[in-house]
């Protein structure tokens, strides 16, 4: 008996590893390509000569990126916005998700509907801009953080998690012992929610890190620009001037540098997140349900 089980599991393991390895290679190759392309001559890249190793080795792409002192400032700005923003997100999202996950919450259908509508119906950029302006938040960090303080999508994920892991029975049991909802939330629910908090940090954090549009419309002081906005403007550095004689040479040279920078920009802007990820991973630990009341 045991031998058969082992074999079937072993087969499963082997097949799974094989498939995953293929996936790994297929996914990894274009990533590898981005890395080698970022240090290759752009003409060689576009001619398909760069396949497994860089050709026409050049660091110009990275130089062009880091030459801008703005990049460092943008990096620091983004760091600030991401940290503050994510904290705000957590404070706004997680309690709300918990509340909505309680089956005994009166009016939760209505409240849920209230939350869902804005995902689909939006007044558009102009009215939102006017609201931000009326609240005197223009050109401040808060214009980047408060309007997006809650992502309904993320909240729903959070709520689903709470629904399936924090049984209401637990709450009732705790109440008998004199525990309020708040106490329960802080001392029992949160500690059990490492996985979902980690996801929220990841999703919201990455969202802040990659954001540029709100910064583009709400910020006027370029010293406050986040990294992505600065990087994007580097890419569009080709002056949109007329093609007066002489300009074309430079337009060509800049287009080439932009080609080159395309790849190095990706590397520069995503390294921080990729480094962060393993720390988040730690929280996806199996089986955190302590003392279930089942049975």
């Amino acid at each position: 008996m045991k031998k058969i089980k082992l074999t079937s599991n072993t087969v499963f393991d082997v097949v799974t590893i094989a498939i995953l390895t293929i996936i790994l290679i297929v996914v990894a190759y274009p990533l590898y390509f981005v890395i080698i392309a970022s240090i290759s001559d752009p003409a060689q890249v576009s001619n398909g000569n760069v396949m497994f190793y860089p050709i026409g080795f050049t660091f110009d792409g990275y130089l062009a990126v880091f030459k801008e002192s703005q990049v460092i400032r943008g990096f620091l700005n983004s760091l600030l916005y991401t940290v503050v923003g994510t904290v705000v997100n957590l404070v706004v999202t997680i309690p709300a998700a918990f509340a909505l996950s309680r089956p005994n919450l009166k009016g939760k259908g209505f409240i849920m509907f209230f939350f869902i509508i804005p995902m689909y119906i939006s007044g558009g950029m102009i009215p939102t801009y006017l609201v931000v302006r009326n609240l005197s938040m223009l050109d401040t960090m808060w214009s980047l953080i408060l309007p997006g303080a809650i992502s309904i999508y993320n909240m729903i994920i959070c709520r689903t998690f709470f629904q399936s892991t924090i049984d209401q029975g637990l709450v009732e049991a705790a109440k008998i012992d004199g525990c309020t909802n708040t106490k329960f939330f802080l001392h029992i629910a949160l500690p059990l929610s490492g996985a979902v908090i980690a996801i929220m940090v990841l999703y919201y954090g990455v969202g802040h890190w990659n954001a540029y549009f709100n910064a583009m419309i709400y910020l006027s002081d370029s010293n406050k620009f986040p990294l992505q906005l600065i990087l994007r403007t580097l890419l569009t550095k080709i002056p949109k001037s007329t093609e007066m004689a002489g300009n074309v040479q430079e337009a060509m040279r800049q287009a080439q540098v932009a080609e080159l920078m395309k790849y190095s920009l990706i590397i520069v802007s995503s390294i921080p997140v990729l480094i962060l990820y393993p720390f988040i991973q730690k929280h996806f630990v199996k089986g955190v349900m302590i003392g279930s009341i089942k049975g």
């Binding site: 089980k5 079937s8 599991n9 499963f12 393991d13 799974t16 590893i17 995953l20 996936i23 996914v27 274009p30 390509f33 981005v34 309690p95 709300a96 509340a99 909505l100 309680r102 919450l105 009166k106 939760k108 259908g109 849920m112 869902i116 804005p118 995902m119 689909y120 119906i121 939006s122 007044g123 558009g124 102009i126 009215p127 939102t128 006017l130 609201v131 408060l146 309007p147 997006g148 809650i150 729903i156 689903t160 998690f161 399936s164 109440k175 309020t180 909802n181 939330f185 979902v196 996801i199 990455v206 990706i266 802007s269 995503s270 990729l274 990820y277 393993p278 991973q281 199996k286 089986g287």
Partner: protein, 326 residues
């Protein structure tokens, strides 16, 4: 005489019962609130944010029914009713772009939705923690590649002259194909590259949900003699069904929202038959005359369709399972 007295008694009785019921209800409500008012407090920050930044600006949607002129403001601009919608519906390419948009979305849903789930299940079941971490980190990375770079790479890899794909085809003795030139391939290119980019990232949520499944359930299954594969089917999968259902409903609600940038970058004169979507078409119209009202109207149209789809899916899901958004 006694009947009258009796009926009076009965009336008074039911009155008192009514009073007692209402009083009871009120008492129950008070008791409920006393124990649960905090839950409503938990909701306050989120509600405030939504009211300020999502609901308040909604008044701006009215410009979909007006000819918006900034000087006249939102309410001062002339009312034109359905003019913008009619203009869109009657445009020559309306049905084409609608069809293209929906086909891309549905294709994306059918192909792209199951894959992260399967991927998460496999990751969860595979042996070797370190290797798993490597695979995870690598597969999450494509999510950070910008659309511009992704499209540039795609065009390069698919090139009939120098692209990797054609080189492989030639190695196996086939003929070169100019993929980007054939309308039939556009959707596949779009969807498959999307899967490549977001499979890993989208599997995170399922993977985390899997980690919430009690190990006792697995242990019990092993004792019952279930193989790994069986355990996936009977323990893992059911354990993440709530997550799957919710995400499915949400995805249904974005069927009309095919992003602009990627389609625009992958379009060319040869594949435009399948590659013109609502977003790109409206953009081109906007190049000629910059009409905020018109684009708002299109956005509203998309949103309404999305909302209808969402509500339907939610309803269906509520009927057939315990999971729904509301």
């Amino acid at each position: 005489m006694s009947n009258k007295i009796d009926s009076e008694k009965i009336d008074k009785g039911s009155e008192r019962r009514l009073q007692k019921n209402t009083q009871e209800k009120f008492q129950k409500f008070k008791y409920y609130m006393k124990g649960n008012y905090e839950l409503y407090l938990f909701l306050v920050p989120a509600v405030v944010v939504l009211i300020l930044f999502s609901y308040w600006p909604i008044y701006g949607i009215q410009i979909a029914f007006r000819d918006y002129k900034p000087k006249l403001g939102f309410t001062g601009s002339p009312w034109v009713g359905m003019k913008h919608f009619i203009r869109f519906f009657e445009s020559t390419y309306f049905w084409v772009v609608l069809e293209n948009t929906l086909k891309i979305s549905v294709y994306q849903l059918l192909a792209g939705f199951p894959i992260p789930i399967i991927f998460a299940l496999m990751l969860n079941a595979m042996p070797g923690k370190r290797y798993r971490k490597l695979i995870q980190t690598v597969t999450y990375a494509p999510n950070f590649i910008s659309t511009v770079v992704l499209c540039g790479m795609l065009i390069l890899f698919l090139s009939p002259r120098v692209g990797v794909f054609n080189l492989i085809i030639e190695m196996f003795g086939g003929d070169k194909v100019n993929f980007m030139a054939q309308p039939e391939y556009f959707r596949t290119i779009y969807v498959v590259s999307g899967i490549w980019q977001s499979m890993g990232w989208n599997s995170i949520i399922y993977f985390a949900a899997l980690s919430g499944i009690s190990p006792e359930l697995h242990e019990a299954a092993i004792v019952d003699g279930a193989s790994k594969f069986k355990r996936i089917l009977h323990v893992d999968l059911p354990g993440i069904v709530p997550t799957i259902v919710i995400l499915l409903i949400l995805n249904f609600g974005s069927l009309m929202s095919v992003g602009f940038e990627k389609v625009f970058l992958l379009q060319n004169d040869q594949n435009v038959a399948t590659a013109e979507t609502i977003a790109t078409y409206v953009y081109k119209m906007g190049l000629v005359n910059n009409d905020t009202s018109f684009s708002t109207a299109i956005g509203l149209f998309n949103s309404v369709i999305n909302l209808i789809l969402l509500t339907s899916m939610n309803y269906i899901s509520r009927k057939f399972s315990d999971n729904s958004l509301w």
